[in-house]
Symmetry: D2
Subunit: 338 residues, 4 copies
């Protein structure tokens, strides 16, 4: 791809779509956001207008069919991701797609096949890999600063549960929320061989009635022999809790929470530090930007993305094994899944 | 028991024996340490002399037979604990005994039976319950400050492995080291129903050759439905790592490491905080003292100890379930054990 | 002023000019940056081109003469600030000007007079007032969260001295660097009555040869009776050190350093936290943006700026008193100055 | 002095007397506390009885006259220190004396003369020099870890003011409280040449009516050219605030507060760390013990104490200069004092 601007089409104008739209239109260079497709016309038009995007369409196909569009950012509902990936690949578009590809391994593999056949680049939106703190953990590992890896500890808690009506279409907590941590585990410690997952309904009984969980504890064994533990909760009274610790033969690296501010207030009852940044939009604002910048760099260099479809497939595998472990009350090997 | 001094005999003059001797002779009131029994005469005599203890004996039986002795502190090798508990109980002595009672549930139950028959008080040396930080966690829980309990997270790592020759008689890492954390789990979150344990040999292959592990990751499900995770390692390059987090519906309480000092050194590469206190003798110095004070209070009040034999039995059950889980690669319910 | 965009002209295209240009062109709404004036044509053209600014001029007068321009942002060299303020005021432009107005009180007063006569709004670039941490300190004070104010403690150290050739035109450390802290003192604790300043040349003897200092320690007494201390250094080996503590009858609020990341690396020698963000461009990035947003809001509402010329005059007064105190080795009252 | 026990007499059985009695009787080796003299017989007898001290006397002279006593610990009221030092020196006793020697420089010099004539060792109770955190700061300086010293920053605040009736006999805040910080400044940064002190009555107007202050801010210039600042308050709502920062050419070392425990409680409003240890008896418990151990080592080795009378004289000089500075509203050189 040459030095002229890469022309992007955006699929979806929801919460995440808006973030990527802003990044594409204002924050990265060498890119033009030329079109937005969304069935929600009002929202799409308003977004397009505020960012100076000229074309708005209700039809996704129009984007795929537009020969002046080089790349698409797929931010449609999760259940449409795989069909949009396949259509985009067939149209020869470069593809950035929000996670997950699909909750179904067969669908995932169909997407990977389509992408491979088309020879396009696919990147999945595991933005946390680009978070400066977590990216530094990766670098610390790669530089052997903590030595041989022995234990990974992830604590990942949302400030509050999603609206109850979101639960049935969420794919379940393990696929919707924990999957970020499964990807992080894979990103930092490599291939996972086995998992054991405990699920619980401790936050809201309504979630349980819908067949989902709101609390999870996953143990992992990596191919290297290292171990890992992931704690998830749909609610933390003290806010969005996002911590990762990497323990190895030479020491430990810990990514701590990012707080609302750095003011400590010392009063009669002790010294009060501020809460973590409110939620993922605030906590991972920078990583949403950096993942797009990385994708564009891949397009420019014609290189595969570091968050390729086959990478993303691993997190689906772990989530499936975790789900099975939880349902069947036993350790599950990933080789059982696929 | 009246207001005259309680007269103690000490069994064993090793590392832990010395600590309890010092506490009994110098740090708590209303107590006289009157005799020390140890096969290692030199060490016992030197200890007795430095503390003004008049009687030293090579024979444990002599202590049990001495009618002027009210209570004993058993600090003999672990393999002798159960026979010393039974003998002491039969002699009508009040009993403080280092952990563990035994690695064998039958033995444990024989001890509990003997203690019950004799009507004496038995306290096991799970000193960490008395650590001011961990005791405050318990209080926070009891005061409902973090609400309904949902997740317990314990990280417990030694600064370095024990001498390799200690491994064969240690009872194994789960019984020797993790058992403190199992007791802490039981102390803070109540009864454990299930465990899943991963063991690994990641620190020293020699430990593996002896059939033991040096790394463990245990998941627990409590009767209440709460979950827990315990990370253990025989070595942490940055020192003795002892952290406990209690997560509940209202928030989280975290007991952080206690450091060598509170000096931060900010140089060109960042700001360096000091390491944790070296090892358990330093880190839990206060709790060794407070557990004896609590035992004496129980004797004075004629009340059962909060760290009774049946409490201690629970930690053995968890350790046995953890061992079985690790060996068989599956979730184990405590009801399978006994 | 109506709801059409406010049209800005930028004076100066240096380091700070670029920051404000970016803010005006991209980060705040309701504003158009229509012209850039700078004697350094190359730099100005490149900046204008990257931001889509149409007009570039070598002549400041052209900006002032342009009737389509509503407001100017003055980022010229400090020695030109006062003449540019006066010219802008006479041309009826709204004025945002970088600190300082002038190092000369007569000049300052001429500016304030011109602004008053013209009836325009003037805001001086004491951006730190808009830093989220420091703004929260102000709010904590205003909310009476720390009670009656008693002691202010500011530590403000640059990571490294400026190029030595900058020193002669800098106005001196007290006017160039400490003045931010003098403004912060005034902002947080109100009017200053007296100062005592120690100056030292401890970092670089060359700075001393040029008649300047590189280390300063200022004590202040506020009109309220509260006291304050300000520590300044031109160099901190561990990076940009920017801390403020507010102590009062009910407690203390402390704004701590903002670090490069939240990763702690625990190795054999302790636990290493990252350094502070590199320098003011990084540390105060957000406040550069927020001060412009606040200025625009004042223009929209036709209200005087919270960082008005007479506010800025106070910091000059304090700096002059500090300089005199240092030179004469005595306590100086602000009423001696003017 | 040989290897037989050093025999101590204690003068005074008040709060500090009890602490030193306990240290001498129980915590250090090679020492016997043989006598306690106090006009408050009840208190002295009770103390003696609990520690097994045989001799109790109402007469200080009896202690000095007792030829079997090698050393005395003077814990009488401050106003009696100098006469007790002189009497003890004349009796040939080794002398540990609580701070201050006297508030009067003539008295101080009479004491130093008497001690010199008698050839005995005198140590003054500036216990904070032995605090592990502050002692580490000294070591960091001596090891050149922070490079050439540039700025010392001490924050020293009591949790609450002393009883109002104590004020008139306290010697004033600068002599009673700040003097510890003056000694610390001298200990860490060496000789002080000049001081400027602001005093205020911000905590309790009653203190002001008695002619004393409750808030102080002192700036210092050291002979080396380094600068220092000391903040004092008689009251901090959040507890005993004891922090020291040493800033130099290579970096900074900071001794932070020691907290009641290491538990952080994260609730809806943020994360609450515990308060500092209550007051000096808790915060400096260890240093009270270590200063006596150091004194005994000096006696054993026949070496002068590191906290000699002439060292202690420096802190009195600084306090006198600070007082004069505050009263006269000007910078004061120590050479003006004596």
């Amino acid at each position: 791809m040459g030095q002229s601007d890469i022309r992007f089409g955006l699929i979806g104008a929801g919460r995440i779509g808006k973030i990527h739209a802003e990044t594409l239109a204002r924050k990265v260079k060498g890119v033009t956001l030329v079109a937005i497709a969304s069935p929600r016309g009002e929202s799409a038009r308003s977004l397009a207008s505020s960012l100076g995007v000229k074309k708005v369409s209700a039809s996704v196909e129009e984007i795929f069919a537009d020969p002046t569009i080089d790349a698409v950012a797929i931010c449609s509902p999760s259940s449409l991701h795989s069909q949009h990936i396949i259509a985009a690949a067939r149209a020869g578009k470069q593809i950035f797609c929000e996670k997950p590809i699909s909750y179904d391994l067969v669908e995932v593999d169909r997407c990977l096949e389509a992408v491979k056949t088309a020879g396009v680049i696919l990147q999945i939106g595991f933005n946390r890999r680009f978070d400066p703190n977590l990216a530094r953990l990766k670098k610390i590992i790669d530089n052997d600063e903590v030595g041989a890896l022995e234990m990974l500890s992830i604590i990942s808690r949302d400030p509050e549960p999603p609206p109850i009506k979101f639960i049935p279409t969420s794919g379940g907590m393990l696929f919707d929320m924990s999957i970020h941590d499964f990807d992080m585990a894979h990103f930092l410690f490599g291939e996972v061989e086995e998992v054991h997952t405990y699920g619980g309904v401790l936050v809201d009984a309504e979630i349980g009635k819908l067949g989902d969980i709101d609390t999870a504890l996953t143990s992992l064994r990596f191919r290297s022999g290292a171990l890992g533990t992931i704690q998830n909760s749909r609610r933390a009274a003290y806010g969005y809790d996002q911590r990762v610790e990497v323990f190895g033969s030479k020491g430990m690296a810990a990514s701590e929470n990012v707080l609302e501010d750095n003011v400590n207030l010392s009063l009669e009852n002790g010294s009060l530090a501020s809460k973590p940044l409110y939620f993922f939009l605030e906590r991972y604002a920078k990583s949403f930007e950096l993942e797009i910048a990385a994708f564009i760099q891949c397009l420019r260099n014609g290189e595969p993305s570091p968050v390729s479809g086959s990478e993303a497939r691993q997190s689906v595998l772990i989530a499936m094994a975790a789900e099975r472990s939880m349902r069947e009350g036993r350790l599950v090997r990933l080789s059982e899944i696929g």
